[in-house]
């Protein structure tokens, strides 16, 4: 095992253990998402009953919805809770006392949080929406599998990029929170993520004239791009274009993050009592 990776891997293990402790929370989160997914699916079905001819069909829209619920843990809604707390108590300077590169450490921590969060939720969600629903005759409302091996492969790449993209954005939120010394600095996150990722309405269902902008903005890579790759709506070169867009924003977020962090950390001070 690479000794340099040890601190980062141990965070991952610690997160998993923490998640397992709160079994009631795990179940509650799962139930909430099943419920939410069910409502959205029923609404979509009612809409599509009126006019079925759309850029994506009902089955795809439903799969989009279930993917959204299963992978909800991947979305960057707020700054890292530990860092928000550390900023408010004045202890954030302790982050600099660790013998690791802070940006990488925060990135690893964010990735660990995303992975742990999602890992526990996606499996039961997939089991229910993809396996159980067809079993009780609700195949039409279920979570369908990728449209083919190529789609599955490209999806795997795309969703991995989503994890990094989301984590890099979370680190930006962490830096904002540190710079402004309050967790409220991260309030901008839901405002941007919710509509621009495609969680409110699939981006592909938005008006035609908005599509180019929606495709190339950073948050499309969190939801819309990977999901459309999943069921083949973005295939071949279009899929690669989507992946390229994700890569672009991953690089930009990391570069901006490192530069910004250097400036902010130079000013951070420790609070005594």
């Amino acid at each position: 095992m690479n000794a340099a990776a040890l601190p980062y891997l141990s965070i991952l293990r610690a997160r998993f253990a923490l998640m397992l402790q709160y079994r009631a929370a795990a179940f509650a989160g799962f139930a909430t998402q099943c419920w939410w997914g069910a409502i959205k699916v029923m609404v979509l079905a009612a809409f599509y009953a009126g006019s079925a001819h759309q850029p994506i069909n009902l089955a795809q829209a439903i799969t989009y919805t279930w993917l959204g619920q299963g992978l909800l843990g991947l979305l960057p809604w707020q700054a890292d809770a530990e860092i928000s707390a550390a900023v408010e108590t004045g202890n954030v300077a302790y982050e600099r006392l660790r013998p690791v590169d802070t940006h990488t450490f925060w990135l690893a921590r964010a990735i660990a949080a995303r992975a742990a969060n999602t890992g526990l939720r996606v499996l039961p969600m997939f089991a229910v929406a993809s396996i159980f629903l067809p079993m009780i005759g609700l195949e039409a409302w279920s979570w369908h599998l990728p449209s083919g091996p190529q789609a599955a492969f490209l999806f795997a790449i795309s969703i991995s990029l989503t994890v990094i993209l989301s984590s890099a954005f979370t680190v930006l939120l962490n830096i904002a929170v540190t710079a402004l010394k309050t967790r409220r600095a991260a309030n901008i996150a839901p405002v941007l993520v919710s509509p621009l990722s495609g969680m409110i309405v699939p981006l592909v269902l938005m008006p035609l004239w908005m599509q180019p902008f929606l495709f190339w903005q950073p948050f499309a890579g969190l939801v819309d791009i990977p999901y459309r790759i999943y069921f083949g709506n973005l295939a071949g070169s279009a899929a690669l274009e989507g992946i390229a867009a994700q890569c672009l924003w991953v690089v930009l977020f990391i570069v901006i993050g490192r530069a910004w962090m250097a400036r902010v950390m130079a000013r951070v001070d420790m609070q005594g009592s």
């Binding site: 709160y22 009631a24 929370a25 179940f27 509650a28 989160g29 139930a31 909430t32 419920w35 939410w36 069910a38 409502i39 959205k40 029923m42 609404v43 009612a46 809409f47 599509y48 009953a49 009126g50 006019s51 759309q54 309050t182 409220r184 309030n187 901008i188 839901p190 405002v191 919710s194 509509p195 409110i200 309405v201 269902l205 938005m206 008006p207």
Partner: protein, 267 residues
């Protein structure tokens, strides 16, 4: 000093505390408004694509949406303290201090936090109502307007009850509280549409278990003259908001059980 004056005293202090950082406060207010308007915009975008949902058009949906949005937002504004109860009071043990004061716990919790930022959602709800009302070809009368207000009053009681139930739940578990989001945000998501688009079992759940139908669907359908589509006589549509108050009564009973549990097991 009676309860209402004490509550206003609390609110004044909340406002002062939040206004210490006026730009942050304004930013939060604006971002809340932006988020909720974006949701409403998303709804509109869907109607650009689909033109109707089982025969109901955008202005009608705007009315449903506005009513449930305002109801929830007013509840969130006044009773944010219930929402924060678990992590802020039970987990920290600060509920002990609430019990050590010679005032009802619910009053103290309401006074703990005033959700000024949710006023952004109230505004959004009112805008949705206005847009819906303006676009609709409905003969607007005082009676219809009052029915909408009465529906929102029932909705306010219902959502306060849901928040109170969430607070009660935190006596047993602080970690699972997010399940109540199924009823608050899930409630908005579900009730913004006429409930006849849903499966029968779901409609029954939202009528008899968590009576969202009674404070949104039935009254608004009655105002729109579509009460037969909702399956009820029009005079019933005027009475159904009472279910919201009944639900609140039940929630208060559950709360009392929760407090007794807390004082028996300690923090």
């Amino acid at each position: 000093m009676n309860g209402l004056r004490l509550y206003l005293s609390f609110i004044r202090n909340c406002l002062r505390a939040q206004m210490l950082y006026p730009t942050a406060f304004l930013l939060r207010l604006v971002s809340q408004f932006v988020i909720t308007i974006t949701e409403f915009g998303g709804l509109y975008a869907l109607f650009l694509r689909f033109s109707h949902i089982r025969g109901w058009t955008f202005p009608e949906i705007a009315l449903f949406y506005g009513v449930v949005s305002v109801s929830f937002a007013l509840a969130d504004t006044t009773c944010r303290g219930f929402d924060m109860f678990g992590p802020q009071f039970v987990k920290t043990g600060d509920f002990d201090r609430v019990l050590l004061r010679p005032r009802p716990a619910t009053l103290q919790l309401m006074g703990f936090e005033f959700g000024f930022t949710s006023l952004g959602r109230v505004l959004q709800g009112l805008i949705a109502l206005a847009i819906g009302a303006w676009l609709l070809h409905v003969d607007w009368t005082v009676a219809k307007a009052l029915l909408l207000v009465w529906a929102m009053a029932g909705g306010l009681a219902l959502f306060i009850a849901i928040l109170l139930l969430q607070a009660t739940l935190s006596f047993w578990t602080v970690e699972s509280l997010e399940i109540v989001n199924t009823l608050t945000y899930g409630g908005i998501e579900a009730a913004q549409y006429p409930l006849d688009i849903y499966a029968n079992w779901f409609r029954k759940f939202l009528t008899f278990v968590v009576p969202l139908a009674c404070v949104v669907y039935f009254p608004v359908a009655t105002v729109l003259g579509r009460s037969d589509a909702a399956g009820i006589a029009s005079w019933m549509g005027a009475l159904t908001p009472l279910a919201g108050f009944a639900f609140l009564f039940v929630a208060l009973g559950a709360w009392r059980i929760g407090v007794r549990h807390y004082t028996s097991t300690g923090s």
